[in-house]
Amino acid sequence: MKTPALMQRASLSAQQAMRRPPWAGGRSGLPGMLLILPALAMLAALYIYPLLSSIVMSFVSDAGVGLENYRKAFSLYLIDMLYTVGITILSLAIVFVISVAIAGYLRFNRWPFLNFVYRLPLFIPFLIVGHSMRVFLAPHGILNLILSRITGIPELPGLAFGWGGLVISYVWKQFPLATLLILGAFQSVEDSYIEAALNLGSSRLRVIREILLPISGPTVLVAMVLTFVSTIGCLTIPLLVGAPKPVMLPVDMSFRVTYFNDWGVANALGVISYVIVIVLAYYYLKHMVREEGA
């Protein structure tokens, strides 16, 4: 997965580390540790401790320590788990296509308007996105009113309360960040790499696929991981948009806690979400390594 640029940078910094000038301090001096201590403490208190405790608590139920919470989670929410994975992967795929298309277009063409406007959803909170999608995609929402005018069909099914609306909302909210990251990576690819490919007869589409994407591999991976994690962990959008059943896992977790005060199953569902992310990331990385090796 390492690109040459990354490896060069890595080896460069290794060289620099070996030849440190005499005035440079040691790698891990006490002042350094003190400087990062507040950040580390926050991370430990607010993230690492709750993570560990939620893993522990997922194995504790009224029946004592065991897999009771997981048994319950699978028997009640297996459909939701599959639904969550499916919706997230579908959204991710669409985000990938859209963000690469926009980033690719902007790498070859100057269009300040597009370059500005694609970022707008970044600044709109999840709650607002959920609510406006609910209004926009409702059976008598803005989209359907416009479509009815155009097509002349008076009653159209609304997208807001099905998987379609959910995917549209996720994609709309998530693609700008992915585009921002991928465009940044595309823009740091030297012009001469692109020109060399065009010069040999490559089309722009092929340049994006065969030159820009592979060279930007690590950044694309980061963009996709961020998109995946924030989609699978998002609560507000699936609370407002989507069918009553099946639902995304965060909704189930919130439901277990709010109505049953059942932290055990909620934690088990949380741990299952982590496992989903880890397993998919593992397969993705393995796939990438194979591609690289081929």
Partner: protein, 349 residues
């Protein structure tokens, strides 16, 4: 292989004229060196031939076909970049194969051509390496192979050797020339190094501020530089400016007590440039009586520098001009000597 014709090519960037009405013809199989200082427009020229720059005016004809506004991918030119632009995520083999795959050749044909190209640039055995695992010279060869393997109509070399150290540069220069002759491929070679241009090219074009200052065979342009800039750029180390004098015999200028005639288009009192190459002056020794082929003048050795095979002397003339002269003779600093130079080797503008 094809003839390249450039007619009235002009490109402006804001106030800057990168190309100013450039007219050139490169014959089939000819290697033309485009020489010029940085900012002279030579890169813009080659980039507009490749299609990365759209000219404001003029035409580019390749084999009679007008390609001025054709997309780069349709032109069938092949460019070797100064940075080589080898794709870092592809092996040598993948880099070289890329253009062939785009041409939808059969796997057998691709294999045959790649083998030919690897053999051509003497890189067999390195197919599986990544660019970062190659030396600069090897990377340069891969870039050359990648360009040549697609059988382009014209080869564009944009300062192909400027990132290499002197020894490899010297060797690769001759290899490129041999290769180009063997394949008989029309080639444009961009460089800022006059020695490289003169040694490799069939014809040399000197650009400055987007204009062609002079074009011709290397010998022609070297022995008949059109003006002091061309002379200086082609390696003349001494450009002396002085004022034109006049007496009954006509216009002249003085150098080391010798009288040098000045072209008639000059006015008395006007500035004139005298251009002399460091290695074309003989130090010491008297000129035979009645020799009209040579000019003899005198100067004082002010300083010297040992260069290995020869010495470089700084000579001061009685007029206060300072000249750099190379010689294999050993002379003490401070000595006053006679200098002798072929009349044809003094350029006065």
């Amino acid at each position: 292989m094809a003839t390249l014709e450039i007619q009235g090519l002009t490109k402006t960037y804001g106030q800057l004229k990168a190309l100013d009405n450039v007219n050139l013809t490169v014959q089939e199989g000819e290697l033309m060196a485009v020489l010029g200082p940085s900012g002279s427009g030579k890169s813009t020229l080659v980039r507009s031939i490749a299609g990365f720059v759209a000219p404001d005016a003029g035409h580019i004809l390749l084999g009679g076909r007008d390609i001025t506004f054709e997309r780069p991918e349709k032109r069938n030119t092949a460019m070797v970049f100064q940075s080589y632009a080898l794709w870092p995520h592809m092996t040598v083999l993948q880099n070289i194969t890329y253009g062939l795959k785009l041409r939808r050749l059969s796997p057998e044909e691709i294999a045959r051509k790649v083998e030919w190209a690897l053999d051509l640039v003497d890189l067999s055995g390195l197919e599986g390496r990544y660019p970062r695992q190659l030396s600069g010279g090897q990377q340069q060869r891969v870039a050359l192979a990648r360009a040549l393997v697609v059988d382009p109509e014209i080869l564009l070399l944009d300062e192909p050797l400027s990132n290499l150290d002197a020894k490899i540069r010297y060797r690769l220069r001759f290899e490129i020339k041999k290769l180009q002759k063997r394949l008989n491929i029309t080639t444009i070679y961009i460089t800022h190094d006059q020695e490289e241009a003169l040694s490799i090219a069939d014809s040399v074009v000197l650009l400055k501020d987007g204009k062609v200052l002079q074009a011709g065979r290397p010998e022609e342009i070297y022995s008949n530089p059109k003006n002091s800039f061309v002379a200086e750029f082609l390696g003349a180390s001494n450009v002396i400016t002085d004022l034109v004098l006049q007496d009954r015999e006509g216009l002249y200028v003085m150098l080391g007590g010798a009288r040098l005639p000045v072209p008639a288009y000059k006015q008395p009192g006007e500035e004139v440039s005298i251009v002399i190459r460091a290695d074309e002056v003989e130090l010491g020794g008297e000129m035979p009586e009645g020799d009209h082929e040579h000019v003899s003048f005198s100067g004082k050795v002010n300083d010297q520098m040992y260069l290995g095979s020869r010495r470089r002397y700084e000579i001061e003339t009685v007029e206060g001009h300072s000249l750099l002269i190379d010689s294999d003779r050993e002379l003490p600093t401070g000595s006053v000597i006679r200098l002798c130079v072929d009349r044809d080797k003094i350029y006065i503008y």
